[in-house]
């Protein structure tokens, strides 16, 4: 391999970009460090004075002796209770997660319960989230971002922080998923406990949340549940410091300005030199308006305890069984959806005898719920799940129902960063209620803001009949090429096909794969026929006209129509010509050149064969009477 100098450097740069961490779990790495056991090996241990270690050791010894005495006196009712140390903080560890994603539904209503945070996707994690930087970016250097924030630095010039939460401004994305999240909650004490679950979907429906203890389902109950979504944005922090002292650092001069925050908006802060008193006779403090864009940073005394860095579920949990509990959390969340995509390669083309197709079906899961589901068991529900509009749901002015537009977003640069991951794992399909349930054979990680593609089916040698559809109401001059595919076992299919998009390709004379067209299919059970529209035929020209009109009585008319189909191909073709009749009158076909079938009360189908380089004329006379 000949590697030029530049090429090697480029490849190394590319490898460097590729190696940049993407996993959301990096955000919590420092938290995990801090929550590690206070073992002797932990840094900083040696810096403690020796007398402190002795005091701690003595304390532990006393606690152990006291505990042993207490345990020996505690009456037991047959259960081997583990008595948790009351000072041990509650820890939550993820055990596993199952994600059941519902297919994009026609009757999808806006059911997201997510509060509006609006605005851009700016946001910064502990390590900085460069990918999500919006116009208003956290203006901190890494040192500030990484600092434990004892003084509560606020980056200036930022008005919103969404922490990876999908923006709900503008288009409302649809979709729904059921999340079943199993976690180990450690060190619960008997009685009430405050338990917090982070890493839940930002689009969670709080009313659907259910938490159960698998360790003691009867003795453990949720007393209170809160979904905390007031995230630690700069403005949220400032709001809590109105009437309190803040310090600002000017961008250019580095000068420190201190004062009591009177009010603030996106552009400015109003500071006073003393706290404003409620006493009307008290001297009024001097106030000064400071333009926020001129500030480098704003410092507040401390981080309020009621601000969260990410959406968090908080429970007051009452249990009779202290110790560790295996718990299951389930909830519905929005903005996770899947759809099927079928790639159809027309392998052998034969207009007359029928085409041979190779069909590959893919499942595309689009997760924008705000949570990453690590090594999740994945289930997909195919079918139209009924939903009702939630009164809190965000109503957008777009009123868009088109899923096409929804999916087309994936290709719009800058709308969001879609990371395409292609994996192939097997789906098994089962009937579930009135739907089809597809279960993935192996766990898979579904990251936030990612489209994951998984293999759904592969079928080769599928036979298709080709038909040319001439429907004057659709196109007055051209016929649509249709492929009719029997979804049967004999035809190497015979399985439920979820609704999705079908892309047709074929190999040209040079061996290149060419795009032929695209269509959609609805949920299709087995043993039904798929009717796929490919394109408009080039060599088939059609016309339709009314050639006779006669009034037989005041309520009785006669019409004659004529359809002509000219086949310029070198092979004969099968054609379906559609005749449309008046829907407001009784009709009767009195004369026709070809046999027809009545499709519905106002539509006739003429199925005929048109030989190569010939013209086919279909004429039919209809009497309308009312």
């Amino acid at each position: 391999m000949d590697e030029s100098h530049d090429n090697l450097e480029q490849r190394l740069d590319e490898a460097g970009r590729w190696s940049q961490p993407r996993d959301a779990s990096w955000d919590s790495l420092l938290d995990r460090l801090e929550s590690q056991d206070e073992s002797a090996e932990r840094p900083g241990g040696s810096s403690r004075p020796p007398w402190l270690a002795m005091v701690v050791a003595a304390g532990l010894l006393i606690a152990m002796v006291t505990g042993l005495v207490w345990l020996s006196q505690e009456p037991r009712d047959g259960k081997d209770f583990v008595h948790a140390d009351p000072i041990e903080p509650i820890e939550v560890k993820r055990r596993g997660v199952t994600l059941t994603v519902f297919s994009a539904s026609q009757n999808s209503q806006q059911t997201l319960f997510m509060p509006l945070l609006g605005g851009g996707q700016g946001g910064a994690s502990r390590f900085g989230n460069a990918k999500q930087g919006g116009a208003e970016q956290m203006q901190m250097d890494s040192q500030e971002l990484l600092a434990p924030n004892p003084g509560g630095y606020i980056a200036n010039g930022i008005t919103q922080q969404t922490f990876g939460r999908p923006s709900v401004a503008g288009r409302q994305k649809r979709g729904m998923a059921l999340v079943k999240d199993r976690r180990l909650v450690m060190h619960l004490k008997q009685g009430d406990n405050l338990v917090k679950f982070t890493d839940v979907a930002a689009t969670i429906d709080p009313t659907s949340v259910r938490l159960t203890s698998d360790t003691d389902p009867l003795g453990t109950q949720v007393v209170e549940q809160n979904f905390e979504f007031d995230l630690a944005t700069a403005d949220a922090l400032l709001k809590r410091f109105v009437d309190k002292k803040v310090s600002c650092v000017e961008r250019d001069s580095g000068e420190l300005i201190e004062g009591f925050l009177i009010s603030f908006d996106a552009q400015s802060l109003l500071l006073a030199d003393a706290a404003v008193s409620d006493d009307p006779d008290a001297p009024r403090p001097k106030t000064e308006a400071i333009v926020r864009s001129q500030l480098q940073s704003i410092r507040v005394a401390e981080m309020p305890a009621d601000l969260y860095t990410r959406p968090t579920l908080v429970w007051r949990l009452r249990t009779k069984t202290p110790g560790n509990h295996e718990m299951t959390l389930s909830y519905l969340c929005g903005q996770a959806v899947w759809q099927a995509d079928y790639n159809v390669l027309i392998r052998d083309q034969d207009v007359d005898a029928g085409d041979t197709l190779d069909i590959k079906g893919w499942v595309s899961i689009d997760n924008r719920s705000g949570a990453t589901f690590e090594q999740a068991g994945i289930k997909l529900i195919a079918g139209d799940v009924n939903r009702v509009r939630d009164p809190w749901a965000v109503v957008t002015g777009y009123g868009q129902n088109s899923e096409e537009l929804w999916w087309s977003d994936l290709n719009v640069d800058g709308v969001f960063e879609a990371e395409l991951e292609v994996r192939q794992k097997k789906f098994s399909e089962k009937t579930f209620f009135e739907y089809k349930l597809y279960t993935l054979s192996q766990p898979s990680t579904v990251k936030d803001r990612q489209i994951k593609q998984l293999n759904l089916l592969k079928a080769g040698g599928v036979k298709a009949r080709r038909r040319y559809l001439f429907d004057p109401n659709r196109d007055a001059t051209r016929a649509t090429v249709q492929l009719l595919v029997a979804n049967s076992e004999e035809n190497h299919l015979g399985r439920p096909l979820p609704k999705g998009r079908v892309t047709f390709t074929a190999v040209d004379a040079d061996g290149e794969t060419q795009f032929l067209g695209r269509d959609k299919i609805d949920h299709t059970p087995k043993d039904e026929e798929l009717e796929l529209n490919l394109a408009k035929a080039f060599d088939v020209v059609c016309s339709h006209k009314q050639v006779r009109y006669k009034k037989l009585a005041h309520n009785h008319y006669e019409y004659r129509y004529e359809m002509r189909i000219r086949n310029h191909k070198e092979t004969a073709i099968n054609v379906r010509a559609v005749g449309h009749l008046a829907s407001h009158a009784n009709w009767k076909v009195t004369k026709t050149t070809d046999k027809y079938t009545k499709h519905d009360f106002k539509t006739l189908h003429f199925d005929c064969r048109v030989e190569s380089n010939t013209e086919k004329k279909i004429s039919y006379t209809v009497e309308h009477k009312w």
Partner: protein, 170 residues
């Protein structure tokens, strides 16, 4: 001037999480690269990189020469990745299509390049990782390693030459 790894490592050994945070940010991409070169799997490499950092945090006091924090950290990651590669892992299905990266190279090709970087001598690896993975400038590398900028350039040049040889040989 940025704090050197040695300064930060000393502070972190004294219990400073923010200092360790800076080291994390500086070294996490090289760690992912080292692990990916062994494991040939990006997702697993990230897990190993995090595990290596957690281990390093626990064992930081055992590091005799804080100036060698980077090589020491990468050794932890390499050993963890080797351990993991020896343990039973899920076998990918035979017809798995290659994962597409946002850039041109496939994941497999990048992993091959990373494995090639790992065959270089430590002094060459160090400058490659700092320049291409930690995105440090020549001056920053010189400051961090306590060497002249010209030395950084010559080391990089020799590192590229060695790397080209390795790639061509393979």
């Amino acid at each position: 001037m940025q704090k050197t790894d040695a300064q930060l490592a000393r502070e972190a050994a004294g219990g400073s999480t923010p200092s360790f945070g800076v080291l994390v940010e500086r070294h996490r991409a090289p760690l992912v690269a080292v692990a990916a070169g062994v494991l040939r799997c990006r997702d697993e490499a990230e897990e190993v990189a995090q595990e290596a950092l957690l281990r390093a945090w626990q064992k930081l006091r055992s590091l005799n020469d804080p100036a060698r924090f980077g090589p020491w950290l990468r050794t932890i990651a390499r050993n963890l990745a080797l351990d993991r590669s020896r343990s039973p892992r899920p076998v990918p299905l035979p017809d798995d299509p290659p994962e597409r990266s946002s850039s041109g190279d496939s994941d497999e090709r990048i992993a091959e390049l990373l494995a090639a970087v790992e065959t270089l001598d430590e002094e060459f690896r160090e400058v490659i990782y700092r320049k291409h993975f930690s995105q440090q400038s020549g001056r920053q590398i010189a400051e961090q390693l306590g060497i002249a900028e010209g030395t950084v350039r010559s080391r990089l040049s020799r590192a590229y030459a060695r790397l080209r040889e390795t790639i061509q040989r393979d």
